[in-house]
């Protein structure tokens, strides 16, 4: 909301700089986002005296003047004004001055030395409009001053400089949506008197006959009060300069004196008003009522709007004439010919106005205020204030009378405020009179009770104050939060331990980073087509109101985010990706994790893609291999200390991991369909795990227990086998382990070969076995028997042949 500093000064004495005043407003809780100066200080414009004036030799309408501007030398200036004459004291814009006049190209007018029709001109003698002081362009300003030549303009003319502040109004402060409201905060902060533009007594109006106007409220729950004031013999025309200035300063367009008066009072007191052309009110009656059906109504901005059923209207004897609290109708608008005006000042209930305004997506200055809740007891004051302004502007006009229908009365709330509660909440040692003075400054009535309690009457313009704690905030914000002493220390009770999950998440991230994975943050909302690649349509959860078709569906797994990130980077020239992500996933379920019907879990994804190792002089480029990720996953489990608990089931090109009888997750490659949809140009694979399963396993087992270093050395034994191509290495390994017994400490594959020198349909596998005995040094003889057993078993089971 825009606030004019000059306007504020009508209600409270302000002597500080605009920035200081803005700071006071901000620290009282209404953040000033910007302060802009309007009007020019006209630096470079000074008092001059026309010493000689002669007719320009080459132009009938121009004069050549010699002007004393206090420098000692006379300055020659060509002037086009008809009223310029020797002996005048005038205002001279000296060379280099920027004037608040916009040239056709949009740039400001800067005074330069120039030749006009062959005569030198070094400055400009100014008219009112050229200085932005008014609209008079008929001739130059002639001063009645005895100030010395060369005196700056600011000392002889009152320059119309204003400062306009952009103030952010929090939704709890309807009282601050007007200049008086902001002035009230300032008056409380600065302890200055608030000069209100109306008295304390409720205004009264002469009564009106039924022929003049009848007013009826049919929906009192939505319209608590309606004041109508009839004014006759008005003359609609342009507003006076002072009024135009006030409104244009805050960005409100001046329309005519009647409409401007209503807008002025709204921005002054916060009460939206509406002016009807009395002649256009059919049947001379006003009815405030709901419309049970959808209606089409043309608002005064010329828009034809569909208004939903149940909206509140102001109607005349025949038809709706205004959408209550939102906008008037085109059919009753003030025009140039209007002579009699019915002013409306009413209290409309906030939720009704909000509902209608929202449903037609129309927020007006009026609905903005009604939605927040205006003062229900300023209705008549505002009507009177506006009528008086109109009377002042339209000679011969008069108030005929007024009607005040007030079916729902609002009486002020009284709240008990304990001084002890104030200090206990704030941690302060405020005294009684400090609290009283702040509250009184905000126009709260305060009555002292016994035992340090105040009975506080809350003015009706503060509907946000309903509890004792709200009063504490009022005291604190006017006192200034920053003045409440910081104790310099804090105290807290014995901290409770961090949940295991917190430590586990740290370990998981560390493990991934140790393995060279880069963390990504994927989107939780996906296009449905992406989600459908990984989950059935029945299990997906959708937003009812997505912002676009790309964000309709909650991610059922993290994989789509990985594919998107991989494709994004490959398309920008990346050769390989190595990503991990930890994030929440959502699917439908019978019971639900936190809320009914929704399974929400945290997942972790490890994904690789593109070349495994880029070409380098120390090593050849290593192409993508799925098994690479298998190794990373095993290392990952190993770092977490879970290797011995994980069971893997191999299904063609994927691995399912489980712990106990719970599925932990899968390692897989995307389908051809997914690859195409995501436009992934390089081979990729990913492993995704449920962290609820993984972390509970970690919690059960995560402990490192030291084992003594072996006393005796181990011995290695290598065998190379030729087997049929279809035999799985994992199965051979199982037999090796089974036959070797507990002396075997590890087994690894050091060679895989197929091709030349081997029969078609066979392959050769090399196994390295490491044996160790904790009680003695093993010799080759100790191992021989085991090897024989292993080889025999492999021969029997797989027809394996030892390769010599």
């Amino acid at each position: 909301m825009k606030v004019s500093l000059n306007w504020l000064k009508e209600y409270v004495k302000l002597t500080a700089s605009p920035d200081e005043i803005a700071n006071h407003i901000t620290l009282a809780g209404l953040e000033v986002e910007e302060v802009v100066q309007i009007g020019s200080s006209l630096d470079g414009v000074i008092v001059g005296e026309v010493i000689t004036r002669i007719q320009h030799p080459n132009a009938d309408r121009l004069s050549v003047c010699h002007v004393d501007i206090g420098t000692g030398d006379l300055v020659q200036i060509v002037c086009g004004a008809p009223n310029v004459a020797a002996g005048q004291k005038v205002l001279v814009a000296t060379v280099g001055t920027t004037l608040p006049v916009t040239l056709p190209d949009g740039s400001p007018l800067v005074i330069k030395s120039s030749k006009i029709r062959g005569e030198n001109s070094n400055g400009m003698i100014c008219a009112e409009d050229e200085l932005g002081l008014g609209s008079d362009d008929s001739g130059i300003i002639v001063l009645k001053t005895d100030k010395a030549n060369g005196t700056p303009i600011g000392e002889v003319v009152s320059l119309d400089i204003d400062h306009v502040m952009e103030v952010a109004i929090t939704p709890n402060r309807p009282d601050a949506t007007c200049h008086l409201g902001i002035a009230r905060d300032l008056s409380a902060v600065l302890n200055e008197h608030l000069q209100k533009p109306f008295g304390s007594n409720e205004p009264t109006f002469a009564s009106l006959s039924d022929e003049q106007i009848r007013i009826r409220i049919e929906s009192p729950e939505k319209c608590h009060r309606y004041v109508g004031v009839l004014i006759r013999n008005v003359k609609v025309g342009p507003s006076p300069d002072w009024l135009k200035k006030r409104l244009t300063a805050i960005g409100v367009r001046s329309i005519n004196n009647i409409v401007d008066a209503t807008n002025f009072v709204m921005h002054e007191l916060g009460q939206p008003l509406h002016a009807f052309d009395h002649h256009r009110i059919a049947g001379k009656q006003i009815v405030v009522r709901d419309y049970p059906t959808e209606t089409v109504f043309t608002t005064l901005d010329g828009q034809e709007r569909k208004i939903p059923a149940g909206s509140l209207y102001i109607c005349d004897g025949e038809k709706p004439v205004a959408l209550a609290g939102i906008m008037g109708g085109l059919n009753s608008e003030i025009s140039e010919d209007t002579t009699d005006v019915l002013l409306e000042s009413a209290y409309f209930q906030p939720t009704g106005v909000r509902k209608t305004a929202k449903s037609i997506a129309l927020q007006s200055d009026s609905s903005y205020r009604f939605e927040r809740g205006i003062d229900p007891n300023i209705t008549a004051h505002a009507a009177k204030r506006c009528a008086d302004l109109i009377l002042k502007m339209c000679e011969g006009s008069e108030i005929v009378g007024g009607i005040d229908i007030h079916p729902v009365k609002t009486s002020p709330l009284v709240i008990a405020l304990r001084l002890a509660f104030v200090n206990r909440t704030l941690g302060t040692a405020l005294r009684f009179n400090q609290v009283v003075s702040i509250l009184k400054g905000l126009e709260f009535d305060v009555l002292k009770e016994a035992d340090e309690t105040l009975m506080v009457t809350v003015p009706t313009f503060r509907p946000d104050i309903t509890r004792e704690i709200d009063l504490v905030e009022e005291v604190a914000r006017i006192f200034n939060y920053n003045e409440i002493p910081n104790p310099g220390k804090i105290q807290f009770s014995r901290p409770y331990p961090l949940p295991f999950r917190e430590k586990a998440l740290g370990n998981l991230r560390d493990a991934a980073v140790r393995l060279g994975f880069r963390e990504t943050y994927g989107n939780s909302l996906l296009p449905e087509a992406h989600a459908l690649l990984f989950a059935s349509v029945e299990s997906l959860i959708h937003a009812l109101n997505p912002i676009s078709r790309d964000t309709t569906t909650l991610r059922p797994v993290l994989a789509p985010g990985f594919l998107r990130a991989a494709a994004f980077n490959f398309n920008r020239g990346a050769k390989s990706v190595r990503f991990f992500e930890i994030g929440n996933i959502f699917t439908k379920s019978e019971n639900g994790t936190y809320v009914p019907g929704v399974h929400e879990d945290t997942h972790l994804l490890l994904g690789i893609g593109g070349v495994t190792t880029e070409a380098h002089w120390t090593r050849a480029e290593k192409k993508f291999q799925l098994i690479e990720l298998k190794g990373q996953v095993e290392d990952f489990f190993s770092i977490l200390g879970l290797s011995s608990q994980i069971r893997s089931v191999f299904v063609t090109d994927s691995i399912e991991y489980s712990i106990g009888n719970e599925t932990l997750g899968h390692l897989r490659q995307p389908s051809a369909e997914a690859t195409a949809l995501f436009d992934v140009s390089q081979p990729v694979a990913f492993a995704e795990f449920s962290l609820s399963v993984l972390i509970s396993a970690m919690e059960r087992t995560f402990r490192i227990t030291y084992e003594p270093i072996p006393k005796y050395p181990s011995i290695e034994y290598d065998i190379s086998l030729v087997v049929a191509s279809g035999v799985a290495s994992g199965d051979i390994e199982t037999i090796i382990r089974k036959q070797s017994g507990k002396l075997l400490r590890s087994v690894s594959v050091f060679d895989v070969y197929e091709g030349k020198n081997l029969p078609q349909g066979t392959k050769s596998l090399g196994y390295r076995m490491v044996f160790r005995d904790d009680n003695k040094t093993l010799t080759i003889r100790d191992v021989d028997a085991i090897i024989t057993r292993v080889v025999t078993a492999l021969e029997t089971t797989f027809g394996a042949k030892l390769r010599s």
Partner: protein, 335 residues
Amino acid sequence: MYSEIDAIRAEIQSASLSSADELEAYRLRFLIRKSPIADLFSAMGKLPAEERADAGKRLNELRDFAQERYDQAKSNLGATAIARKATDDLTLHAAHQPLGSLHPITLTLEDIKQVFFRLGFSVADGPELEDDFHNFTALNFPPEHPARDMQDTFFIRKDVSNPENDLLLRTHTSPTQIRHMLSRKPPIRAIMPGRVYRNEAVNYKSYFLFHQVEALYVDKHVTFAELKETLVMLAEMVFNRKVKYRMRPSFFPFTEPSLEMDIWWDAPGSEGRWMEILGAGMVHPNVLKNAGIDPEEYSGFALGMGVERIAKQRYGIDDIRLFYENDIRFLEQFR
């Protein structure tokens, strides 16, 4: 004899030993069994007895000197003689392992968490898909509050019979405060980090999801002054310096009094300005009551901040969308 020793020493000294041939010639001249030095050793017997000890000492020194010069020259010559392979060039580029990295939001969030842990806070977790009760009603949002509009919040399910059962994507991490308060008795001191959602258009400064950390402290005699002190400590620890700050009254339905904290931001080369870093306040009595805590016995404060906002400041990032694009050229800058 001494003059002969000096002559031989001079000859050894001046011998050129810059090639294998010269080295061999040197060896054959001075280090074989029939060398001038050996001759002098043989001649020692002819010296008078009283001179022998001294002459022996000098001859030994001469012999050692001859050997030393030979050894040194040989080793110098040897080093240059061994051929250096092309791969021995240390100016070649070494191979590197892939280095993992953490996302800038994680880095920022973890730093913030560490500060809270120093200040005695624990951490609590809750769902991103919430119900209306925890996200709005329990937090003292009136039924007509604009945040409950479809324009502001992503809804998952509407329950006409009981709006408190509406499902939605949480708009802040505050519902976790409610869950945490309902799950344990005061004193409560914990933070609630996590992902939140707003139905907002995507542009360089807004995104429909982002991350927050909130903190909650509920105990007997918690005061606004203590909140202020905590915030100052927090800001100084997060930014790791003394900060110039101001606290402004503000409005949140779930706190009263409420505030926003700005710190003065002096970016080099640009004008200083106030930058909002967090919102906070004393927990509203209605919220305590909704979470089963007696507001006459207990009071508390809550605060919340946006992780992206802090991360953007920290790293000079000017476009929030970069956080979710996962461009390696962006991610690799955060180590």
